[in-house]
Point group: C2
Chain length 146, copies 2
DNA sequence: GTTGAAATAGATTCTTC
DNA sequence: GAAGAATCTATTTCAAC
């Protein structure tokens, strides 16, 4: 990453708040022309700073109201790559974080109800050499800019 | 949420993979007309299923290479709303999850380096009635569809 | 639910400074 | 680096089915 200035930061902030924000909307905000804004956003994509765009979904509205983090501990011989692989095949898993120390992984899951959560946790325990789990039930959440 | 069918699910899946996917791109995929796709996406926005759109950023490219989860425990008298409020004023905090049981909150932070992480954790400890913290350093991560 | 057409707006490219 | 104009593409609305 060579130069990266306040204008770039401003553009990223605007795109974080609205990923479909147009060049014409951003241009006056940063005091540049539409063409100049396009060149900057293109450069952010080319350099990989912008990985892509996505939609923000309210999962409770879809009936997937329960969110939890599952801490997983594995036997010492389990390679990290296998931990991730055994987790992301489970459709309820939203994200997997491999961790230094204890636990070995933190898995973010989203489920319809408690019974469903129980099934998902059982599924995670079964695959691989899991030695223990601890489930953190999410009561509420706040995410930056969402 | 009244009716919500496979076409809607397909549209959400496509928008998750590319939030800037156009109606004209989605229409042939789901076998509907452009106008019909627009009506469905508009309905998903109106009903709140679609909360918004955002950009996916590679923070390592911006020099914020370290990611961690901090488990926070509070005194019994601390209201949940205050926990969230004291956390999201810290700019390094990406997300706050309030938890049922122990710990009371799980905080996702993103920092430049270890020294910076130390400062952020110290900052989180200072505000509110924090009785203990445990930090999970993220070695690697996988997120659905990202 | 569909099609097609028309109007608007945004993206993109090119030439200019 | 930047602006402005021309072109193309997509969105949006509408009428009719």
């Amino acid at each position: 990453m060579p130069e990266f200035d306040d204008v770039d930061r401003q553009l990223l902030r605007m795109l974080r708040e609205d990923g479909r924000c147009t060049f014409s909307e951003m241009a006056p905000e940063v005091g540049l022309s539409v063409a100049a804004v396009k060149r900057r956003v293109d450069r952010l994509k080319d350099t990989g700073v912008i990985k892509g765009f996505t939609v923000q979904i309210d999962h409770t509205k879809l009936g997937w109201g329960i969110e939890a983090f599952v801490e997983l501990s594995y036997t010492g011989t389990t390679p990290v790559g296998e931990i991730v692989r055994t987790c992301y095949t489970v459709p309820e898993v939203q994200a997997v974080f491999t961790i230094a120390g204890d636990p070995d992984a933190l898995v973010h899951v989203r489920v319809r109800d408690i019974e469903h959560l129980q099934q998902v946790i059982d599924g995670l325990r079964r695959v691989g050499q899991v030695t223990g789990t601890k489930t953190l039930m999410v009561l509420g959440s706040w995410t930056r800019t969402a």
